[in-house]
Amino acid sequence: MTHQIEAICGRYVTVEIAGRTQRIYFEEAGQGRPVLCLHTAGADTRQWRHILNDGEFTENNRIIAFDMPWHGKSLPPEGFETEEYLLTTEAYIATVLAIADALGLENPILAGCSMGGRIALQIAALHPGRFSGFIAIEASDFQPAWYDIDWFHRPDAHGGEMGAALVSANIAPHAPQAERWNTLWMFMQSGPGVFRGDLSFYTRDDSLVANISRIDTAIAPVHILCGEYDLTCTPEDATRTHQAIAGSTLEIMTELGHFPMSENPARFRPYFARALALVGASGT
């Protein structure tokens, strides 16, 4: 068997977020226009592995993804052992901006999936000018939970395994088996209470509904992508959100679900290429 060392490079950066020191793990590949990528709830940077390894994307773009605190290889902050993890809009925005500043990103694109797409739209509304374009994947203004988020943090059951079994509902049946299970594995590995804490933000904070009219696509274009098999952020949710943002663009992706870049990278690739071109980065 031949050996292959991937182009992805992983490092750590320490930043201050709301007065707390956070050691953040990030991966990057490529050179050119920075494209900062945000993972979904209950997962980590590995969701972006195929985009980071795509030479046609990295030829002219610097693709970067980072693990949110408590996720992947980013440790929770000091004192976490007695803390209930509950992500907030404010902390999430502060984290994304802190990373962009720490890495010295100039005119970056922000691409986020699910809760990452939600916060991308919040940043578009509340911090115009910080990013030069937004790709909001499986993102909507708001939708309440169709499940009980407390299922995923209990002493008598494995929250990660239950979370993975639940989110499998959001993967299209067309996903290659290997990538389906790679995608679910991240949820199985999620730290105790982390998926629940992310979902607290995602399913209870509806503040984007009031902010969404502030998004000015003349300052930075917004492109929304949504998989037709996404039960959480449905095409109807994405369409409603698109209609609320004047000048935004939308593409419904066939044979894809809630984790398109991870569950079926070959299928997602042309949609992401078009998205990059639409928001001013280098598509392929």
Binding site: W146, A165, H174, L231
Partner: protein, 129 residues
């Protein structure tokens, strides 16, 4: 009543579980009765340690069950296609489409969700997906 087309499908699920070691491992702690209701007809699926040991047909108020999945035969037919349409690809999708309801001890379902989803998906391929 018993749907003549459904009975062999449920029997096949029971046979396939027995032949699938990873399902028996996933269901090793699952010994419950699940009510599957299709077009109002009742099918009590009695599991013991991950094996589907008995399928009792017909409504019986004396039969206790842990949770129930109620749907219609057309929805189930679409659910069992190899590549189901959006929404028909998952039991919670059926619920979201208004084509199924799930009631009873939902937490018991969620604790065993991977197992339940995989055994219900067996007819898509006649084997494991």
């Amino acid at each position: 009543m018993v749907d003549a087309a459904l009975k062999p499908v449920l029997d096949m699920i029971a046979v396939m579980i027995d032949a699938t070691p990873h399902l028996l491992r996933l269901g090793a702690l699952f010994s419950e009765t699940v009510l599957l209701e299709v077009d109002g007809d009742a099918y009590y699926l009695v599991f013991h340690r991950g094996r589907l040991e008995t399928i009792a047909y017909g409504q019986n108020r004396k039969t206790p069950w842990r949770f129930a999945i109620r749907t219609d035969s057309e929805a189930l037919h679409k659910f069992w296609q190899p590549l189901p349409s959006p929404g028909f690809h998952d039991i919670f999708g059926l619920v979201k489409l208004g084509r199924a309801t799930i009631d009873g001890d939902i937490l018991m379902l969620v604790k065993n969700l991977r197992y339940i989803k995989e055994i219900l998906a067996i007819p898509r391929t006649g084997s494991l997906a």
